[in-house]
Symmetry: C3
Subunit: 344 residues, 3 copies
């Protein structure tokens, strides 16, 4: 028997199955520094222990998206090694900050299965949880992927399609214990705009662009121990291109969004997201955001803002999202919907 | 009103204005490791806690140029986002070591303004200070930049041109508390040459060369949270090239200078500097140094040496600096003038 | 006299000479994170403090190959700056784990010399030791290199060719104090295969491939403070290519071997190794392993497995090693022979 992991195929999943993912990971100052080298990340709460302490935290946690990437990366060998496409995200919540020295592991529960009409693949819905060394859930989200069948003759399972919330309700947002923006220093944070200054429907162009290199996306993707071949092996795809991990685009766009959203300090929920088109080295990533909703929170001085974050490789200021056919425009890379915390 | 930062234009500056720069940054072991991955840095005092302890310090501080890059990077969004050119440095002094866990912020005072005769830009002189979490100044330097006007019709300010020292006087050098080179281990440091072995006027060719990659200079520049578009966005310049952050060349040249100056352990003053020509990916950087001056210090066994450090992309051993017209030769990238500390 | 280091030539070595290498290095969390960004390293014991603690250790040590690269890198300026080729390794043993915060230095003893018949170069055998800040030897290995003569007229030394063990005897393996695999969690480690599941002669194809970039191998090689020009300066070789540090290939292949050997947690001995052909940016590295031997150990639940690890740039599944002429096939990059520890 071969000792290498061929990955699971569509017929290998069962609803209610819980898969414990391998290779726990201790994260520390090194991951933080690399995150800042890989992305133009400047949100002050993740950059300065002093700023975080003034916001009621015990120092600066690791960036919210580091937690996401580590938890996601661990699920790849079990969930998406034979994936044709990463279709969507829903009901994601950050439940506990991740601190330097924490050890993360993750597990996924299969919550839905539906074979495609072509009989060659199907959609798998999983709820993935990231846990720290005290078995506290730090992050929880649903994603669904299209997975190939290993044996086309395998019978189709009873279809189960989970009902997923369109977005996380404001009352379900979990805020870091102690968070308090009453002493918030807008000067140090980089922009004067507070929660009250943003209007639903407002669109913010984040101005900057970053041209992507092979070495960088591979460094990032390996750092999260994401093993999908297509990101690393230039001989894997017929066109000789390495597909860039979608999370690299998420982090790049989120970091670019500092320019205009410097005070949207912490991501607390992932309402949805689509990797609209593939991204390759040489593309120049730009981003814009739209304010989708706002909500109050119980934490002193803290408001919640729901944002659509769009990354694209088009010209600066190009805010096209979908064509007349309703499909994403070809230059759109990412359409992400999340809740962040801002000072009021 | 747009929420993104367009940067300041020439007419936005006033003499005596103090600008507090955004996004404080906690630096730690991760930044140190990345510095060693990005540059061939081998000065023992910044490489080994044991070596630093034997030199009277509480372990190894972060590299002197890490402090410079972090402090400089914070000033970019306020000072040089609309800069046409970074014209010079003067009166720079390292006043306190930066330790892992320190949080740095920076602020700049406008000390000079002079509109150019074309009426479209002007020169802004600022004194930038880096401060740690105890509000101690760790680094202080003057730089001047040419900045575009946003509105050509804006009236020219009264010209104020600061008088700047040609170099920091030896009596003004500040040495790290406790520094002592009496037990200095030349074997571990890598070279036998002590302060007394260098003569004013002596030229040292540093032999090695490093060919520069896009991914590396972008990792470095982001690590210092320097946001200037021209370093990251290949569509920004008409020629499609990303201009390499001048500080990347400084760090590369300083690291290359180990070969011949392994005992010039710590930079304590920046007397002047010019980024003579732009540097692009694919260039192979080489360096040579000239001993400009020497001075004694009050610290046991410690001498000061004033060095010109020249980085170029020419052939090995090419020490041309200026052409017959007095301008920098086209292959010269950097002409830096600094004081360093050496064992006597 | 030039102050730069020209490196030693063949005639500069004497049998029994001990060379203390320069620039001690404190290693910490930053090096660990960079290792995980540079290589797809997933062995759980080097990824998770919790997993390491459950294996009887005081947290996760730095990767075994980080110790190797640091110790090796320090020896380059003294041993291989003028090397024509790195010919082999033998009798390598990891004697103590390296922990975050440790400071490593290294020294080499010349144990053999033999001039080549062409009179222009010769083979130098050295035993290199890495020591921590408590002067404990953490790693010890023999390597031999072909070194150019600086002066062809220098007389040939009396040839001394050391007798080297074909492999480290199982009874000579040194295990980390306290190591215990009785509570080993195969689920977290990533694969179910235990020591008893591997048979001598078994070949494992590690499936994955990684296409190599210039920026990555230079980041790695600098991180280990390896200064050999040929890795960094694209103008050094006539073909304009930068030769990739052989250790980069070792680490890449070892990390790729996770897929099929996830439980071969720690390298404890290096029996031999050859860098069969040069590796350049753009090559896609793949790996396969062959089980050469197995041995029991005195540690609870711990077995030793002797593995041949072959890295190649050929097509997936290409296990050709040598041609009919007995020479390495042109696509083979590395042929490494080591002992690792596995749960029984």
């Amino acid at each position: 028997m071969s000792k290498t992991n061929p990955g699971r195929f569509f017929e290998d999943y069962r609803v209610c199955q819980v898969i414990r993912h391998a290779v726990p990971r201790t994260v520390a100052e090194g991951e933080r520094a690399l995150y800042h080298a890989l992305y133009p990340a400047r949100h002050a709460l993740y950059s300065s222990d002093e700023f975080a302490a003034a916001s009621g935290l015990d120092g600066s946690p690791l960036d919210d998206l580091i937690a996401f990437h580590i938890v996601f990366g661990k699920s790849v060998p079990d969930i998406s090694l034979n994936a044709v496409a990463n279709l969507g995200y829903a009901e994601g919540r950050w439940l506990k900050p991740v601190w330097p020295g924490d050890t993360l592991r993750s597990e996924s529960e299969v919550i839905g299965l539906k074979e495609n009409s072509n009989g060659k693949s199907g959609v798998v819905w999983v709820r993935t949880r990231g846990l720290n060394q005290m078995d506290e859930v730090v992050l929880d989200y649903v994603r669904w992927v299209m997975v190939r069948k290993g044996d086309d003759a395998a019978p189709a399972p009873e279809p189960v399609v989970p009902e997923l919330a369109k977005s996380v309700a404001p009352s379900d947002l979990v805020l870091p214990e102690g968070l308090d923006f009453l002493q918030y220093d807008f000067g140090l944070a980089g922009e004067p705009h507070r929660w009250g200054d943003y209007e639903v429907g407002e669109v913010i162009d984040h101005v900057d662009g970053v041209t992507i290199e092979e070495a960088e996306h591979m460094l990032a993707t390996r750092l999260w121990q994401n093993t999908a071949k297509v990101h690393f092996d230039a001989t894997f795809r017929e066109d000789g291109k390495r597909l860039i991990y979608g999370g690299h685009v998420i982090s790049m766009a989120r970091a670019l969004s500092f320019n205009g959203l410097a005070n949207a300090q912490m991501i607390v929920a992932l309402n949805g997201g689509a990797h609209a088109n593939p991204c390759f080295a040489g593309d120049t990533i730009r981003a814009w955001s739209e304010v989708l909703d706002k909500a109050d929170t119980h934490a002193p001085g803290v408001g919640a803002i729901r944002l659509r974050l769009v990354a694209h490789k088009g010209a600066a200021g190009d805010h096209a999202l979908r064509g007349e056919d309703g499909k994403y425009a070809p230059q759109v890379l990412l359409d992400l919907d999340y809740w962040a915390l801002m000072p009021k």
